[in-house]
């Protein structure tokens, strides 16, 4: 009897607790987007969160180190050779760039169009390799206010645009990838110079192009670059390639899929543009 009574009291108490906590979390969920509560908490408790990420990263770093030690000498020599060759070829390509820049400037002057200032400063940041929730298209990098990052800053890797910084903390910041469902940017088709709105799908392998009318000149394999019109991404960086065009006569727009050119899933380092 006594036991039953206790159990009953507890469950009555826990019902009120449930009610209390449920209402708090629902209130949090409602107001988080507008008040950015979690962002403020992360900003304040930066010094507590950073070590937790560091600890979570440790096993990965450990295995990577073992891997490095086990790399044979021959393998390293081969890798070195390949990298040297790559640098040789790329520096050959780079030689062409200054004259092209000048030519571009001259042609733009002839056309009376404004010269677009390209970003000059590049900084490298490393990924903090922790597991965020499986469907979030966000990554964490290990630089923050210490090198004066700002919200909306462009993040790229060696192949193309990765995303933009959505939250800056003292020593780490959060990058929203271009594949995030809430993210969209204005691209330009490099072949036709037509503007296209590209938005994320949540799947890291695909982007989609919105509002492409049925008669628009668009082909598989067209390359999309940033337009610079959204005032967030600088002009002329690679976004991706059109991989599939689905033509459904009943729809008002074409169903266009874009393969992002940057490696969105397996990065170690990213570049930040100023």
């Amino acid at each position: 009897m006594l036991n039953d009574d206790l159990h009953f009291k507890e469950s009555a108490l826990s019902f009120w607790k449930l009610f209390f906590f449920l209402s708090i979390s629902i209130i949090f969920l409602f107001f988080d987007k507008d008040l950015s509560l979690s962002q403020k908490i992360r900003e304040r408790s930066n010094h507590l969160i950073q070590p937790i990420y560091k600890i979570a990263e440790l096993p990965n770093i450990f295995f990577n180190n073992i891997n490095q030690h086990l790399n044979t000498r021959n393998k390293l020599i081969e890798e070195n050779k390949a990298l040297k060759k790559k640098i040789f070829i790329q520096s050959g390509i780079i030689q062409k760039i200054p004259p092209l820049k000048e030519e571009n400037k001259r042609l733009k002057k002839l056309l009376d169009s404004q010269d677009v200032t390209t970003s000059s400063r590049i900084q490298i940041a490393e990924l903090i390799n922790v597991n965020l929730s499986p469907f979030s298209n966000k990554i964490i990098i290990n630089k923050g206010k210490d090198i004066s990052l700002f919200e909306g800053q462009t993040v790229i890797d060696t192949f193309g645009i990765l995303g933009q910084i959505s939250e800056v903390n003292e020593s780490f910041s959060i990058v929203t990838l271009i594949t995030d469902p809430g993210h969209a940017l204005l691209a330009v088709n490099a072949r036709t110079n037509k503007r296209i709105v590209i938005s994320g799908t949540g799947d890291n392998r695909f982007l989609k192009a919105n509002y492409v009318s049925l008669n628009q000149d668009i082909r598989q394999g067209d390359i999309l670059i940033t337009s610079g019109l959204d005032n967030i991404f600088p002009e002329g960086y690679l976004i991706g390639e059109i991989s599939k065009i689905g033509n459904d006569k009943d729809e008002d727009f074409l169903d266009v899929k874009v393969t992002p050119s940057s490696t969105l899933t397996s990065n170690k380092e990213v570049m930040l543009l100023w």
Partner: protein
Amino acid sequence: MVILNTVHFKISLFLFFSIIINLLPLPDIINSCRPPILLLILIYWSLAYPNKINLTYAFITGIIMDILLVTPLGFYALTHVITIYLITIYYPQIRLQSNINKMFSLLIILIPYIFMSTVLNDILEIQYNILNIIFSVIISVIIWPVLFHFLRIFRQKYV
């Protein structure tokens, strides 16, 4: 030193480490259907000490997870609180069950988890694949007996 020996302190420390386990990076294929390990561990402790480990713990760990995993604040808190509430109601029955029955009970207890994660993801417009969530639940049911056994050994030795 008194604080260091209390059950609350030991379990909090344990939960802290399980949060870190939850953060460990894994390959993409496993990652998309990884089981909610922190929730499973929380379920075990609330089965073992239903008077001590209850909704407060569920809420606090949920909020910490939300902050660390950059999900909207309250997402994990809500799922944790509802799941642990079920445990606080049904723990006398679940404790007496055999291992296989426990697996089935876990499956039933995790149904709100599936429901909450799909509905919340829909409301918050987060992209998800329902198969991945179901897979993660199936995996957690499969690993449950092993996890239970390990945690029980740990509890008998240290707590």
